[in-house]
């Protein structure tokens, strides 16, 4: 299309099979020079597998890849970098204890004298407006800054195709804007960009063309600016979107969970300490905690669930009972349920059957243990009930948790906690890595539980999720929680600033006071 110049990258008929799954099924598409091309699809649609083959981490089982019109085989990432393919991964590979410069130097294929490398790093940063001190230790950097290291690392190789895998999932709205500026500048200079995401508004704002994957196949290639978010979402999911029903104007009940002045020192060298956290959640309320990853969400979940016990007993109050000195099991007996972010190995034991996994957290409230002996029948019947109620796709209560897909395992875990009828449910990243169908079911389950009078805390990095799910929202940053604000009428700009660590901004306090009737002051 562009004056007969060959496509920068062209894939035709790429097939990749894993035991039991066809991850990519005859995938074909092309990226032109200087184009920002979106690769859009749900979790599990095959996006990551596809880019891993482009970057040489995996080899396709069949199909052809052309680079500037020439057929190529990319046998490893080094070969990909030699061709001019750079990649920024969703999960960074950085040594926390080293500096920015040391991390970049370690990642170079050729050895370059330190002084030359540093001046090249400074050049790249200047050209693209990426501010970063090369001599800072990575531990001290925010997630957005860490991503910049990875971008600089990729740009040092003068790439002609840059692959960005879900780059915005950990960024604040402001950081996303800065990233887009860099990407647009790169594209204007002729570098092609393959932008992987499932966030439709970003793709509409940034990309020239979008290839939509579903179940490993290309379902459409379209111009995102000419499409609506809804039409693209429907192509991505393959069915009409299910809208979660959230009854308007819910009455809030009594306070069920009150956290007051909770402070916990950091655990481990890279842990985050919690500083003076206060909030209250009422019966029927869904309370959201937004924030960029690594700002204390994990520590907060462990503190609430009782997996880490610290502080004084009245720092956490559940239904008027001080519980901060109680351990996980005792808290669960009093009605506190939790779902940690990591499903495999934290919320569930992957090698155990689902029935055995039910014993893990439901044994006391469901009566699965009598005088020290497990009653397998109780565990099996309860697990069966969870599977039926939450439409968990599995071969039965005897399948191992590890054999379930992410979405189905999450539905099982949520179901396991919800059917215990908890007074308070704390959930971290309820829909992380979950397909849209399962995500909608999980969201509906959360809303239904709140309807039934439970108090719910949702910790998530996905701001869109929180805005659609929650009644009240607070932002966690470096272990501090902002003042809660009502979701209705919340100011996205302000939430973004809070996520980025701007505290005490006069505008922020003003916004809170705009809706005084919706604000729950932290309990004294």
């Amino acid at each position: 299309m562009s004056d007969g110049a060959p496509n920068r990258l062209e894939l035709s008929g790429i097939v990749k099979r894993f035991p039991g799954v066809l991850a990519n099924d005859r995938v074909s598409f092309a990226v032109r020079p200087g184009q920002i091309h979106a690769l859009l699809g749900e979790n599990g649609a095959g996006k990551s597998t596809l880019v891993k083959m482009i970057y040489g981490i995996m080899q396709p089982d069949a199909g052809e890849m052309r680079w500037d019109g020439e057929p190529v085989t990319v046998s490893n990432p080094k070969a990909a970098r030699r061709l001019g393919i750079g990649m920024v991964f969703q999960h960074f590979s950085l040594f926390e204890a080293l500096t920015v410069f040391e991390n970049i130097a370690l990642g170079m294929d050729a050895s370059i004298p330190a002084r030359d490398l540093e001046s090249r790093i400074r050049d790249v940063m200047k050209t693209y407006g990426l501010t970063l001190d090369p001599h800072r230790q990575v531990t001290t950097l925010s997630v957005g800054e860490r991503q910049r290291i990875e971008i600089v690392r990729a740009l040092l190789l003068n790439p002609r195709l840059l692959i960005m895998d879900e780059p915005t999932s950990v960024l604040t709205p402001q950081e996303v804007e800065q990233l887009f500026v860099v990407l647009r500048q790169l594209a204007a200079e002729g570098c092609s960009i393959l932008y992987i995401s499932h966030k439709l508004h970003e793709i509409k704002a940034l990309c020239d063309e979008a290839t939509i994957l579903r179940g490993g196949r290309v379902v459409d290639t379209c111009d995102p600016k000419a499409e609506t978010s809804r039409s693209m979402a429907e192509k991505m999911i393959g069915a009409g979107l299910k809208v979660i029903s959230k009854p308007a104007g819910r009455e809030k009940g009594r306070e069920r969970l009150v956290v007051q002045h909770l402070s916990i020192p950091a655990i481990g060298p890279f842990g985050v300490s919690l500083k003076d956290i206060s909030f209250a959640v009422h019966a029927g309320e869904v309370f959201g905690i937004a924030g960029v990853a690594g700002n204390g969400q994990n520590a907060l979940l462990l503190a609430l669930s009782g997996e880490e016990v610290a502080g004084e007993s009245d720092m956490i109050v559940l239904d008027d009972m001080p519980i901060a000195r109680l351990k996980a099991r005792a808290r669960r007996l009093k009605g506190m349920a939790s779902v940690p972010e990591e499903r495999n190995g934290h919320a569930a034991v992957p090698d155990f059957t689902l029935a055995d996994n039910s014993v893990l957290t439901a044994r006391d409230r469901i009566g699965m243990v009598i005088s020290g002996l497990i009653r397998p029948r109780m565990a099996t019947s309860y697990t069966g009930r969870v599977i039926d109620t939450f439409a968990v796709k599995t071969t039965g209560t005897k399948s191992t948790a590890g054999s379930l897909s992410g979405g189905n395992l999450q539905k099982y875990i949520m179901g396991r906690e919800i059917l215990q009828n908890p007074g308070v449910l704390v959930v971290s990243q309820p829909t992380w890595g979950v397909d849209a169908g399962a995500a909608a079911a999980i969201h509906q389950a959360i809303i239904d539980l709140a309807e039934a009078g439970s108090a719910i805390v949702v910790i998530s990095q996905d701001l869109d999720e929180l805005l659609s799910l929650c009644d009240t929202l607070a932002v966690i940053n470096e272990g501090r929680l902002s003042r809660p604000m009502a979701v209705k009428g919340a100011d996205i700009e302000e939430i973004g600033l809070l996520m980025g660590g701007i505290h005490g901004d006069p505008k922020a306090t003003e916004t809170v006071h705009v809706h005084p009737e919706n604000v729950h002051a932290p309990a004294p």
Binding site: V15, R26, T361
Partner: protein, 365 residues
Amino acid sequence: MRLRLEKRPSPSQFMLFATPLMAVALTMVIGGFVFTLIGFDGFGAVREIFFTPLMNPLKWQDLAVKATPLVIIAVGLSIGYRANVWNIGAEGQYVLGGLSATGIVLLTQDMSGPWILPLMAVAGIAGGMAWVAVPAWLRTRYKVNEILTTLMLTYVSVNLLNYLVFGPWKSPRAFGQPQTIAFSADQSLPYIIPGTIVQLGAPIAVIIALVAWFVMSRSLFGYQVRTVGAAPYAARHGGFSANQTIWVSLLVGGGLAGLAGMLEAAGPFGRMVPQFPTGYGFTAIIVAFLGRLNPIGILIAGIVLAITFVGGEVAQTTIAFPYPAVGIFQSMMLFFLLAGDVLVRYRVRIGNRASAGDSTSEASA
């Protein structure tokens, strides 16, 4: 064309049971070849070591005697291993169990009564537990690796044994031999099958294995141990304390090793001597793994290892096969078993792109 490992969707139950058998078979074949190559009658040795003890009913009582301490110690170790707690110093706990029982013997020299033997058993268990309490405390308090501490305490225990039998506990009637006085009838295990050398220890080993099987498969404690071993964070999420699990599993392992030491001292040995540590505590590690950390499997594996001990003695007398070489056969078993474990989680595929053909044909179907 080449061999390729492919991850199985779930661990193979068949391989879980087949690999111990494969390990034993491979040990016989490879061991036979190796010893033939270095100039021995390798396959004769395999026959004498692995088959003669089974074919000759006279040897069966020897099997029961040898298997008893192996099974008791291995059952205790397997509980810790399930929780990822690696006590490899059962030999030391076994020695302490024997020493504690001997201490009771010396205190009750001029007494008699059926209460002495149970008291010796309690002392043996307590001695093993006390010896393992040091690594347990260091591990839970200071995160000191229990593999090192349990092993090192084994050497301490052997020196303690030597000090006692060469020194204060030496029998005045032993003509300078380093040994204690002989245990009296009330201080020794009764024979349970008349005319054989099978003592009370053998049925105790069977009962311990059955009880351990029931506890590990049906009780919440067994569930706790398995959860802590399989997924420590999930165990914490479920409200199980890792430190408590470490303590209990180490104490059970040390206590059972101590009991085995008492049963050996009050049984086959009949007095305390410097030759008391015979390596049962180390061989029990092989038994635990060969039995798949399952108490019933351990019962069978204990007999297999007992066969190699008894067979080693047979081979020594019949074909002059060096007895220490039995240790090589035993180690090969563990080696092949651990190496074979890869087959539980992976399957072997032949050819470079065996799956590429399938997928394209399916894709175009």
